[in-house]
């Protein structure tokens, strides 16, 4: 299986660290494959003929279910159908080894599909890695995909941290409840992160809720700098590269949580 993370990833000892990391892979990185095939033509072409249902399951823990059909992928955090391939991750640290170091997972089901896993799925995850890694010499279109994928993965990761990481939990416990809209103006992209049903969550599309804070990034360059932790956001505000309004503590505190992702995956 391709290495889903970038070479900068730090693997630290400790259960909590691995616990959070494995959740990040299962709940934030794997779902990004859904976006990848929607946005990236080469990725879509890889899976056009495929018809697979892959279940990743952490022993006694979380799951990720990917359904690959008609050139599309859908994700669920639960097993919703009988899988054609079942990948067992023995422990959070095993999951981290599988995702970060390409260690072989245990295959419970799908021995006849090994070639799909080894070729197509591996290529697909490599394609995701291409975008989630540090900026390369992307084409204009790839820059757009990079920004969207990075931002969505970051927001999904923030949801994981909100649920699992002590510091993030404390930060968000002191945050006014509401919904933050994060947008990239030059490509007309918007995504959301907010407090719904008692939890801080990544929100793909709003269903009637009102936005309480707005963070707009002017262009792809600004987004890239922000996502790679290289942006002086205060300077960016004054220079008109970032625009904020509404309940600013939500933006500040979600920003603090987003800034913590790098401690786990980058």
């Amino acid at each position: 299986m391709g290495n889903l993370s970038c070479p900068l990833c730090k693997t630290e000892q400790g259960n909590t660290q691995d616990n959070i990391k494995s959740s990040l892979y299962l709940k934030a990185v794997l779902p990004s494959l859904v976006d990848l095939v929607q946005l990236d033509k080469p990725a879509k072409e890889l899976i056009i003929p495929a018809n697979e249902k892959i279940l990743f399951s952490l022993r006694n823990g979380e799951k990720a279910f990917l359904k690959i059909q008609n050139g599309e992928i859908t994700y669920s955090p639960k097993k919703i159908e009988t899988p054609t391939i079942h990948i067992l991750l023995m422990s959070p640290s095993h999951a981290v080894q599988v995702f970060e170091q390409g260690k072989l997972p245990f295959l419970l089901k799908g021995f006849t599909r090994i070639s799909f896993l080894k070729k197509k799925f591996d290529a697909l995850t490599k394609r995701l890695e291409y975008y989630l890694k540090e900026t390369q010499n992307y084409t204009e279109e790839e820059k757009r995909i990079y920004a969207i994928l990075q931002l969505k993965t970051a927001l999904r990761s923030a949801e994981v941290l909100a649920e699992k990481e002590e510091v993030s939990k404390k930060i968000l416990a002191g945050t006014p409840q509401g919904i933050l809209r994060i947008g990239i103006e030059s490509i007309n992209f918007e995504s959301y992160f907010g407090f719904i049903d008692g939890k801080w969550k990544y929100i793909d599309r709003l269903s009637g809720q009102t936005v309480s804070s707005i963070l707009t990034l002017k262009d792809l360059k600004t987004t890239e700098l922000l996502l790679t932790n290289k942006l002086d956001t205060f300077a960016g505000l004054g220079l008109g590269k970032i625009y904020i309004s509404g309940i600013i503590p939500i933006i500040d505190n979600v920003g603090l949580v987003l800034g913590r992702i790098i401690q786990y995956i980058s």
């Binding site: 309480s212 300077a235 220079l239 904020i244 505190n253 800034g259």
Partner: protein
């Protein structure tokens, strides 16, 4: 009414970003200015209750340097005291008698004070107060209010902020304002470990309506702290000398063990003070706390002159009168345009919020429209009045406010 242009401000800001983190850092940074393009960043001149930016725009200043400016910029009495002492000596190798005179002045002025200590910034003295509480009690933990601001030392910041470790905040327990039960619970749960409780005299956080102490709150606090042998620290850095010249605790009728003063003490000249009760003087003497500029005597002279002027002019009464008048007028203008303006906190440093939009965006747009027309309002921090603000300034400000409401109406 002319709407301001900020092209020179922008040029300077760009220049600043090349050599200064944030361009402009801290509470003067662009972050509280929403939207940033409605605000100036660099000033060239200030006088009375006005300042002028690098584009030549003139503002009636309702932030008053975020509190320090209380007599008006370039107040001749305060400036003269400063300059006269500067001519004698300022930085020196031994202390000035001005330090003794200022301490005596504060001990006379502030009923709780038996002694005074001087530093530069608010955080110098909030830090010192906490160290004294720990030295006095031999205990570690400090109880503070959620949303209460005491400066930027790591223990004063929230967990997760860059540069702050979990250990830095491990001994700080945050409880809600006006919640005696929570205080009691914190004291019980940390029995024998609490050195002190630090709080502003009334709750004046950013982004939310300010709140006065509930009936019986400070009484209850004092009783609980006494029972547990914990020190009561009043952080009067922001409100000090605005509500009452003897300390805002006199206004709310309670007696802290230590009071921190800073902002309005010397009309913008950098000096802060910690005053305390006799019982804590020995512990204060044991805590080593000092700084390169903490003995500068010209600032001490400025503080004496400033406090004398505030006393002579009965500043708190002036603020109460002018502030109430301004607020009543503003509420009415807002209402005429269909908006509800909620005003909380003391009239000398009130917090303003248009309640019609809980996301605050409407309020932010209105503050921006006012600022672009010459009334410098930020949208999430309490504003301030000074002795230099007059009825004529208030009148002019109302006109600006009205224009801004018109602009809001026409854009919605």
């Amino acid at each position: 009414m002319q709407v301001f242009n900020y092209s020179e401000n922008q040029k300077w800001f760009e220049r600043a970003t090349r050599v200064i983190p944030c361009g402009v850092y801290g509470h003067f940074s662009p972050a509280p200015c929403v939207p940033t393009n409605a605000y100036p960043f660099f000033s060239t001149r200030a006088d009375g209750c006005r300042f002028w930016d690098v584009d030549g725009n003139e503002f009636i200043d309702y932030m008053c340097a975020y509190g320090p400016m209380i007599m008006g910029y370039h107040n001749s009495v305060v400036d003269e005291a400063f300059i006269n002492q500067l001519k004698q000596a300022d930085a020196n190798s031994i202390a000035s008698t001005k330090m003794v005179e200022l301490a005596e002045f504060l001990v006379d002025l502030i009923p709780v004070a038996d002694w005074a200590f001087f530093a530069k910034n608010g955080a110098d003295v909030t830090n010192y107060a906490v160290m004294i509480a720990r030295a006095e009690t031999g205990k570690k933990k400090i109880i503070a209010i959620k949303g209460g601001y005491h400066g930027t030392a790591p223990w004063m910041q929230g967990i997760g902020h860059p540069g702050v470790t979990e250990e830095d905040v491990a001994n700080v327990i945050r409880i809600p304002w006006n919640d005696l039960k929570a205080l009691e619970q914190a004291l019980e749960e940390n029995y024998g470990q609490v050195a002190g409780f630090i709080s502003s005299p009334y709750h004046h956080p950013v982004f939310v309506d300010n709140e006065y102490p509930a009936e019986g709150y400070w009484d209850g606090v004092q009783k609980l702290l006494k029972k547990h042998g914990a020190v009561l620290i009043c952080d009067d850095v922001r409100a000090g000398f605005r509500l009452h010249l003897g300390g805002s605790n006199e206004y709310f009728k309670f007696k802290p063990d230590l009071i921190c003063f800073c902002k309005a003490i010397a009309n913008g000249y950098p000096i802060s003070a910690l005053v305390g009760k006799e019982e804590l003087k020995v512990s204060a003497s044991k805590v080593f706390h000092t700084g390169s500029y903490w003995y500068s005597s010209a600032y001490m002279s400025a503080a004496i002159a400033n406090l004398q002027e505030l006393k002579r002019l009965n500043a708190p009464e002036y603020f109460e009168k002018l502030g109430n008048k301004f607020n009543e007028g503003l509420i009415k203008i807002a209402k005429d345009y269909g908006f509800n303006m909620k005003i909380t906190g003391h009239p000398s440093m009130a917090y303003y919020r248009i309640t019609d939009d809980p996301s605050l965006q409407l309020h932010q747009r209105w503050c921006a429209e006012c600022t672009k027309r010459g009334a410098f309002f930020t949208s999430h921090h309490n504003w301030f009045l000074s002795m230099a603000h007059t009825e004529a300034d208030i009148q002019k400000t109302w006109e600006i406010c009205e224009e801004a409401f018109k602009a809001l109406k026409s854009s919605t």
